[in-house]
């Protein structure tokens, strides 16, 4: 704001100073012109006066000189004095003869004594120019401005054309100078007064019509700036400032309008905010309450949890203990069941071989068959129990499917030969599965034994494999006795036998259940398909493919 004021005054000065200078210059030049003209006219009138004065007085002076100079000197100088007083500028009078001799000089008037020619000698003019003028029968004048003098030489011509005398009048120019100085003085005074008055006038006008309205405008705008939009700017003039003011007023009303709407808006907003804040406070209070409840509930829950955890731990320990006991029991049972079978499986064939009595041989065969059955049941039951135990770990590795199947087929050669079966391994090369090797062998052994069991003499068993979305679908197809649809469903159930009426010593009814468990433990699936009795059967199972990524790990 301060800056604004400064600029504003600057503006005033900017307007007034040039005007002031222009005024001074105008007045000065006009005064000089006036002074010059006045001075010249005064000078002219002075010359006119002097000329008429000299031409009128010349005859009187000469006549009085001729008659009175010698006899009535005092009377003469009285007349000269009177003549001099007729023209205030007349300073000196010299009466001269045409030889340039000074006959009378006004000095004598002032000294009141006649010039003593005998004592001091005759007086003559020295200046040759002046002498020429004296001789001339025409009047002449000359300015001696340096000396502030002006002289007129007036010849005296008699009625008979005789030219014996000339008179030299000397006029002082000091009155002219005085007048000049007086004029300069008065002009300066008056012009000074004029300038001051016009300055004041301009100032007043400026103030009245520009500065004050602008000041008003500024004040209003400033108060507008402070946010007070209520007061209208009152500027009565119709000029640009008036226009500016009305423009400002327009702006003010617009601003006021928008300010009002803004105010209204902000009031609404405030109201809204207040409402929202209240709502929020309510909600916060609610939330805090809920939070407190929650904290309390959590504490209770924590206490409960700890209790529960403790109990779970206890129970887990119990369960673990029980599982351990179970595993130990199974191992013990395995040992206890299998060990007594050992002497039977070894000793019975020896006795049978040594026996020659056919009746006794038959008895040994019955015994052997039953021992074999018992052994089978014991091994398979234990195997299934192990597979059911979560503690039994599978060690998965990369296995070449075709090679592995080939190896198993080789090991089972005697089994296939016993029924003169043909076996085909159609599995493609370089298919790798992720499986536990021992369990995989068990799986194939069980399934192949199963196929052999239900195959006819000189039958055909075909193994094949097909990749399917990260899995490999393996099939074992035989052309044996086949299965009914309702039998298929139960094929993998524990202790299920297709023909319940027949007491099958070779089957424990657990083989396929073990197979199902092994496949499931590999995240796979196993199922059986058959067209019906006498049309053969196919066992399918899916195993996860080995991915190269896992190898890198």
């Amino acid at each position: 704001m301060k800056n604004g004021i400064k600029k504003f005054y600057n503006l005033k000065i900017k307007i007034i100073l040039p005007v002031f200078f222009i005024l001074i210059i105008v007045f000065l030049t006009s005064s000089l012109i006036i002074i010059d003209r006045e001075y010249n006219s005064a000078k002219d009138s002075l010359i006119d006066n002097a000329e008429s004065y000299s031409s009128l007085s010349v005859a009187t002076l000469i006549k009085n000189y001729e008659t009175l100079y010698e006899s009535g000197f005092y009377q003469f100088i009285q007349i000269v004095d009177d003549l001099l007083s007729l023209n205030k500028n007349a300073n000196k009078i010299q009466i001269l003869n045409i030889n340039g001799k000074i006959l009378f000089d006004t000095n004598e008037l002032f000294e009141k004594t006649k010039y003593d020619e005998i004592t001091y000698g005759e007086r003559y003019l020295q200046d040759p120019d002046l002498i020429k003028r004296i001789i001339s029968s025409e009047p002449s004048n000359q300015f001696l401005e340096k000396e502030q003098f002006f002289d007129i030489v007036q010849p005296y011509i008699t009625e008979f054309g005789r030219h014996d005398y000339s008179i030299r009048y000397i006029f002082s120019l000091s009155s002219l100078e005085e007048m000049k100085q007086e004029m300069i003085f008065t002009i300066f005074i008056s012009s000074g007064i004029f300038i001051i008055i016009s300055f004041l006038l301009i100032f007043f006008i400026l103030n009245r019509f520009i500065t004050a309205p602008i000041g008003k405008l500024i004040k209003s705008v400033r108060s507008m700036g402070k946010g007070n939009l209520g007061n209208e700017i009152i500027v009565n003039s119709q000029d640009e400032i008036g226009e500016l003011a009305s423009a400002f007023n327009k702006m003010r009303t617009d601003l006021k309008k928008s300010q009002d709407s803004l105010k209204e808006y902000s009031e609404n907003l405030e109201k809204l905010v207040t409402n929202r804040t209240e709502e929020l406070e309510d909600k916060t209070a609610n939330l805090e309450k809920i939070n407190r409840d929650l904290i309390r509930a959590r504490k209770e829950l924590d206490a409960l949890n700890k209790n529960l955890e403790k109990r779970i731990k206890e129970r887990t320990n119990e369960v673990e203990q029980l599982l351990k006991q179970k595993d130990e029991f199974i191992n013990q049972l395995s040992h206890d069941l299998k060990s007594p079978l050992n002497p039977l499986t070894i000793l019975l064939p020896i006795l049978e071989k040594q026996e020659t009595d056919p009746k006794k041989i038959e008895i040994f065969q019955v015994l052997k068959r039953n021992v074999e059955y018992m052994r089978n049941i014991a091994i398979k039951t234990l195997e299934l129990a192990k597979l059911n135990s979560p503690k039994t770990k599978f060690s998965l590795e990369k296995i070449d499917l075709k090679d592995e199947i080939q190896r198993i087929i080789q090991n089972k050669k005697n089994l296939f030969d016993s029924k003169n079966l043909e076996i085909k391994n159609n599995v493609m090369k370089k298919i790798f599965v992720k499986a536990d090797k021992l369990r995989l062998e068990e799986l194939f052994s069980n399934l192949l034994e199963n196929s052999v069991k239900y195959s006819n003499e000189k039958g055909l068993i075909i193994l094949d494999a097909k990749k399917e979305q990260g899995f490999i679908k393996i099939s074992i197809k035989d052309n044996g006795i086949g299965m009914k649809k309702n039998q298929l469903k139960h094929a993998f159930e524990e202790f299920y036998k297709a023909d319940t009426s027949r007491h099958d010593f070779e089957s424990s009814g657990l083989g396929l259940s073990i197979c199902k468990k092994i496949v499931e433990r590999h995240n796979g699936k196993i199922w059986m398909e058959s067209e019906g009795l006498g049309k053969g059967a196919t066992v399918f199972f899916a195993l996860p493919l080995y991915k190269n990524k896992e190898l890198e790990k």
Binding site: N331, S339, L341, N342, P343, I346, I350, Q354, K386, T392
Partner: protein, 125 residues
């Protein structure tokens, strides 16, 4: 004749295997039946040097594992091949046994199969 030491706490087991070999493969093996781990170590200390040891795991007092450790810890005996012959079929025993010993055979077993596996081990050593 190969000398085979059979360590088993059950007399019937020793008898049946001994009889089986005598009957099926006479004069091929000399079976020395030992009824406990302790006796096995004692015999070894008495400079009885078998060509192979068939070792049961589940025995009272000193079990198969301990006997195995003692044999393998002794400079003079450690080269004797050992086959575990046991009724235990749990994964741990099976995998550990087949890893450390020359072979691991589960009971019950045919005498023919036992002979094949014994011969295999003897061939290797």
């Amino acid at each position: 004749m190969k000398k085979i030491m059979l360590v088993d706490d059950e007399k019937d087991q020793i008898f049946s295997i001994k009889t089986g070999f005598e009957q099926e493969y006479p004069n091929e093996y000399e079976i020395i039946g030992v009824e406990s781990g302790k006796k096995c170590i004692e015999l070894l200390e008495k400079n009885v040097k078998p060509d192979l040891i068939l070792l049961d795991i589940m025995m009272p007092e000193m079990d198969g594992w301990e006997v195995f450790d003692k044999i393998k810890a002794n400079q003079a005996w450690r080269k004797i091949p050992i086959i575990f012959l046991t009724a235990r079929s749990d994964g741990l025993a099976k995998s550990a046994g087949s890893m450390i010993a020359d072979d691991y055979i589960e009971k019950p077993i045919d005498i023919q199969e036992l002979k094949i596996r014994i011969d295999n081990v003897l061939k290797k050593s």
